[in-house]
């Protein structure tokens, strides 16, 4: 066991503070819009904190560090693309401004407004499937990190991780987005402190020039040049550009932050600022992975190398702060993702299938029930499923199951009047099919990912040109619907 009393005290104090803050949010829930999008009242700085906290988890640090360990400095291209695309979207308002103006609560909701109810249901099914599969490995990866750094035997840590998931479930079910936003803010500060501390220690322990020399010796030019790297290349870079455009506009948990801000102008600013954070979100943990390569050498388990390195270089006290920071990262992501995927099941599958609209109270109750369902799945999937390769590729592809088709269909819906229901169906199914080729046909991630977007695009264009035209829905979809205000 690496943890001292001091470390445990820091971690338990942090957990108590988070729970109290989360439960505090419960009394401010008076309807579905409060539960799902915090009453659409989030300001710029809180918007940045909650967006960053939602998309920076222990799993983020683990898979990026794994990439750094395996591919050296060439991995930085992924962080650069993620940040640059987000800044571009923030500066231009591409897609996000239009979506915020429509006062949506979920991404598939747009599909009903612009296309058809049945397409919304299909999209909801694909979004929930991809999203829950994506989240399914989080607990296992997070548990691995905490076990190695704290020294807790793995069989006990599964119990601890389950308890933490239940704590998150408690404040997510009760307080919804309000609780998530409050805890995100606290967690954002904690995980950022943790990230800065680890970065400084890693550079100090491994040596900046030494990291360069080790990467050059073990990987040659491919350790620096992303085009020459055997793991990346032009096809992968092209896929990443499309992938990050889609993630930043159509990923449900990111979109919920777009929908939660006070107005479209704030949404754009949140993205611009958060884009700079995303540069660090990628490159800092990648550097930790490179430091692990320099300190431990090649031949380690690539996913575990970074936490093994941390367990050796972190002094007592700091270990507790770092683990608290990582717990913060874990809880912020898990709670937001629980809310995101459960809201899609409740709002975009169950809701539209019923012919009678649910009351606001019933919507909240249904969302809470779906939170529980998703939690149970995540617990069992994580224990059973074995990753087929680097975690980053699995996570990219499970997301692409729906974002490939969603991105193309939403962009088509917002900017091309001829985009039709038939095109939407073809795009969603084409995108899902391309992504599933990763699992079924064992395609490399770059081919499956790029293929998903290409099939979705072809499906939208051909389906729209060949299928029945819609003449009234385009204008109607741009109006704020009656009853959207509470």
């Amino acid at each position: 066991m690496n943890f001292t009393v001091l470390d445990w005290s820091i971690v338990l104090l942090y957990l108590a503070l988070s729970m109290a803050a989360g439960l505090y949010g419960k009394k401010y829930i008076s309807g579905a819009s409060d539960f799902l999008v915090a009453g659409r009242a989030i300001g710029l700085y809180l918007g940045i904190a909650t967006l960053a906290a939602t998309e920076i988890g222990t799993v983020t640090f683990m898979y990026y560090a794994e990439l750094g360990y395996k591919t050296g400095f060439a991995s930085f291209v992924n962080g650069l693309i993620a940040g640059a695309v987000m800044i571009f979207i923030g500066r231009t308002g591409f897609v996000i401004k239009r979506l915020r103006e429509l006062q949506l609560m979920t991404i598939p909701e747009y599909f009903e407004r612009r296309y058809s109810r049945n397409l919304r249901i299909l999209t909801g099914v694909l979004v929930a499937t991809g999203g829950i599969l994506n989240m399914g490995v989080f607990l296992k990866i997070e548990g691995t990190f905490l076990a190695i750094v704290s020294g807790i035997p793995l069989e006990y840590l599964k119990v601890v991780m389950t308890a933490i998931l239940l704590l998150e479930l408690l404040y997510t079910i009760l307080g919804g987005m309000v609780s998530v936003v409050i805890t995100d803010f606290i967690q954002f500060v904690a995980l950022s402190i943790g990230a800065v501390v680890i970065t400084a220690l890693s550079i100090h322990a491994a040596g900046w020039q030494n990291m360069h020399d080790v990467v050059l010796r073990t990987m040659g030019t491919g350790g620096f040049d992303p085009v020459a790297s055997p793991s990346f290349g032009w096809a992968f870079i092209a896929f990443q550009l499309l992938y990050w455009m889609a993630i930043n506009t159509c990923w449900q948990t990111t979109a919920m932050r777009t929908f939660s801000t006070r107005d479209a102008e704030i949404s754009s600013k949140v993205f611009t600022w958060t884009g700079f954070i995303f540069l660090g979100r990628g490159m800092l943990p990648m550097l930790w992975g490179i430091a692990a390569l320099a300190i431990l050498g090649p031949g380690q388990d690539s996913l575990n190398a970074m936490p093994v390195m941390l367990s050796r270089i972190l002094p007592n006290g700091l270990r507790g702060i770092v683990v608290a920071g990582m717990l913060a990262a874990t809880m912020s992501v898990n709670s937001s993702y629980l809310l995101g995927w459960s809201s899609v099941i409740a709002q975009d599958i169950v809701g539209p299938i019923r012919h009678k609209p649910l009351s606001s109270r019933a919507q909240v109750a249904l969302n809470r029930a779906m939170n529980l369902f998703v939690s149970l799945f995540v617990m069992f999937w994580g224990l059973w499923y074995k990753l087929p390769g680097p975690a980053y590729f699995y996570l990219n592809i499970t997301a692409t199951i729906f974002i490939g088709g969603s991105f193309i269909t939403i962009v088509g819906g917002l900017y091309w009047k001829r985009a039709s229901v038939a095109g939407g169906y073809a795009a969603m199914l084409g995108g899902a099919g391309g992504a599933l080729a990763f699992f079924v046909l064992q395609w490399p991630a770059s081919r499956a990912g790029f293929g998903a977007f290409a099939l979705a695009f072809a499906g939208l264009v051909i389906g729209s040109l060949v299928g029945k035209q819609q003449h009234t829905i385009v204008e109607a979809s741009l109006r704020v619907p009656e009853g959207a205000k509470e």
Partner: protein, 57 residues
């Protein structure tokens, strides 16, 4: 300058920008975000005490 060195210099620069902006933005957001949080709570308190027919989003 060979390719590996050129890329190395580029990634050094990117890392400094990434790390520096990360730390700076975190510091700003941590301070200013407290104000936003207080305003959100005030807004939701007001909404809770406003009758449904008169509410505006």
């Amino acid at each position: 300058m060979d390719s590996a060195t050129a890329w190395w210099r580029f990634w050094e620069f990117c890392f400094v920008v990434a790390g520096g902006s990360f730390a700076l933005i975190v510091a700003i957001v941590a301070i200013r975000g407290l104000v936003d949080l207080r305003e959100l709570i005030e807004f939701l308190k007001l909404k809770r005490h406003t009758p449904p027919g008169t509410r505006q989003d």
